[in-house]
Amino acid sequence: MKKRILVVDDEEGLRLLYKEELEDEGWDVVLASSGEESLQRMEESGVDLVLLDIKMPGMDGVEVLRRVKEKWKDLPVVLCTAYPHYKRDFGTWASDAYVIKSSDLTELKQTLKDILGKRH
């Protein structure tokens, strides 16, 4: 069965970009434009991985991460951000991976493959 990835980003252009790129890799992609919406999506439909932007208006990525891990301990979350210092942020320790936003998506895709591959 196709793995399903939930992409959470407040910018529409980026959501679509991720969607196309990840679908090209053979994954199913669901989108959410805010932290609140993303939690709703997770409730509705089972997802295999969450790709999460940290900086969003309203509920930010770190908060979403906390709630996700509270509820679905084993659901992998990959954090995506523009600046690397979140690496040190205590709130991010629980994420499964961390990628810096870059127009070259190879690293991101590889990270997703690694994580999804591990879980059969």
Partner: protein
């Protein structure tokens, strides 16, 4: 005291007044040009000469240069005063040689003032005058220049006047000396101001890091959009389509800005150090290991020479690795035709020393003082942030970094950190 009051040096009060005036001018707040002009006027006035010129000796140009003058409204004047006298010419040079004043007075219709002929010097500035005094300006055996007093009428100085003239000339010398001194101080002051600006600039750098972080988000998202879609666009273009070149150039541009952002954010990312007890040998070995393969491929002999045993330091391992990385990358980049990269650690007194030496021809001496400036680069694809980041990291470890540059041979970057013995480290860690 009798009717004719006697002041300092036994001079009559009128002469004292002149000296006092000279003193007042010397110590006053006038700008230099004004002071010199007024002193010239004063000299002309009390000696009765209608023209007074100040020539200063310029040791670099080896010439006397006209600096101030007063008077000059005499009918006899045919030639304008020379702006300068070269070394060895004019009465000025003679006075410089003799270190004594020279007094010249026309006798009858003689040719004395026809360019001073017959007196062992030629001086067009004296042509047509009837009397002249050329007085040296000296202090503590240093020669500063001469005063030219010139007159259309015949004037003979009394012994008294000579003494006063001498004193006023001393005041003039003092004025010139002070001005020189002040300009030295001014130059030093400028240097200090500049050094301070450099310091402030390095503090600005840190806030630049903060700004970069804020900007990073705003810039990276649109970049991701541009770059990401450009890459997708490329997939949809035919292989031989001209537009592929356009897209490639878009991608190249985007990647360049992204690299710049990476570098800038480095400042912020590393602004908090987490110091723990570490072994410097271990950190250096790890930093070097990453490059072993690359060095081999590029025909670079990698020599690792680590001090025996442990080298305990308090360090943020990740950050120090970034610092060493930057230096090693530079070294490797400098040896595009192969060479030798040697990385060593040692203990020297209370310091742990890390050296990275390359044989890449070194740094051009003209740019040496700029290599640590942010954005300074000589590389086509460099950001110029490697060394500034490294030096910021080293500074946060309270260490130091210097470069020992052998132009034409190679560069050695030397970093020093505090050695921390195990007991201390335990306490802090």
């Amino acid at each position: 005291m009798g009717h004719t009051q006697r002041g300092t040096k036994g001079l009559p009060s009128s002469d004292c007044a002149i000296i006092e005036e000279a003193q007042r001018l010397t110590l006053g707040a006038l700008p230099l040009e004004g002071k010199l002009k007024k002193l010239c006027a004063l000299m002309g006035r009390f000696t009765g000469f209608d023209h007074c010129l100040l020539y200063l000796w310029d040791a670099d140009k080896r010439a006397f240069v006209l600096r101030a003058s007063s008077g000059g409204n005499y009918p006899l004047r045919r030639n304008p005063a020379p702006l300068s006298y070269g070394e060895g010419t004019g009465a000025a040079s003679m006075v410089k040689r003799r270190k004594k004043p020279l007094e010249l007075v026309r006798k009858g219709q003689d040719e004395l003032f026809r360019a001073g002929r017959g007196k062992g010097f030629a001086d067009v500035g004296l042509e047509g005058f009837s009397s002249a005094v050329i007085h040296p300006l000296t202090a503590a055996n240093v020669f500063y220049g001469v005063i030219y007093l010139k007159s259309a009428a015949i004037i003979r100085l009394s012994e008294q006047r000579r003494r006063v003239l001498n004193i006023v000339a001393l005041q003039m010398t003092e004025t010139v000396k002070c001005a020189e001194f002040a300009s030295d101080i001014h130059a030093e002051h400028e240097e200090l101001v500049e050094a301070r600006a450099r310091l402030l600039n390095s503090q600005k750098l840190l806030s630049l890091g903060d700004m970069a972080a804020t900007l990073a988000h705003e810039i990276r998202n649109p970049l991701l959009s541009i770059g990401g879609y450009a890459a997708r666009l490329k997939i949809h273009l035919d292989g031989d389509c001209k537009a592929i070149a356009y897209v490639n150039s878009m991608l190249g541009g985007v990647q360049r800005v992204e690299r710049l952002m990476d570098g800038m954010v480095g400042f912020l990312k590393d602004s908090v150090v987490e110091l723990r007890p570490e072994d410097m040998n271990d950190i250096v070995a790890e930093a070097v290991r990453v490059f072993e393969e690359e060095a081999g491929e590029r025909g670079i002999e990698l020599v690792k020479d680590l001090q025996e045993g442990r080298l305990p330091v308090m360090a943020d391992r990740d950050q120090l690795k970034i610092a060493f990385d930057n230096i090693i990358v530079n070294a490797i980049q400098s040896m595009d035709k192969g060479g030798r990269l040697s990385v060593s650690t040692s203990k020297s007194g209370a310091d742990v020393v890390v050296r990275v030496a390359d044989s890449g021809g070194g740094i051009e001496p003209g740019i040496l003082d700029r290599i640590f400036n942010p954005f300074f680069t000589t590389k086509k694809r460099g950001t110029g942030l490697g060394l500034p980041i490294t030096s910021a990291i080293v500074a946060r470890h309270l260490g130091s970094i210097v470069v020992d540059n052998a132009a034409g041979v190679g560069a050695t970057f030397i970093m020093k950190f505090k050695f921390v013995d195990a007991k201390n480290a335990e306490g802090k860690g």
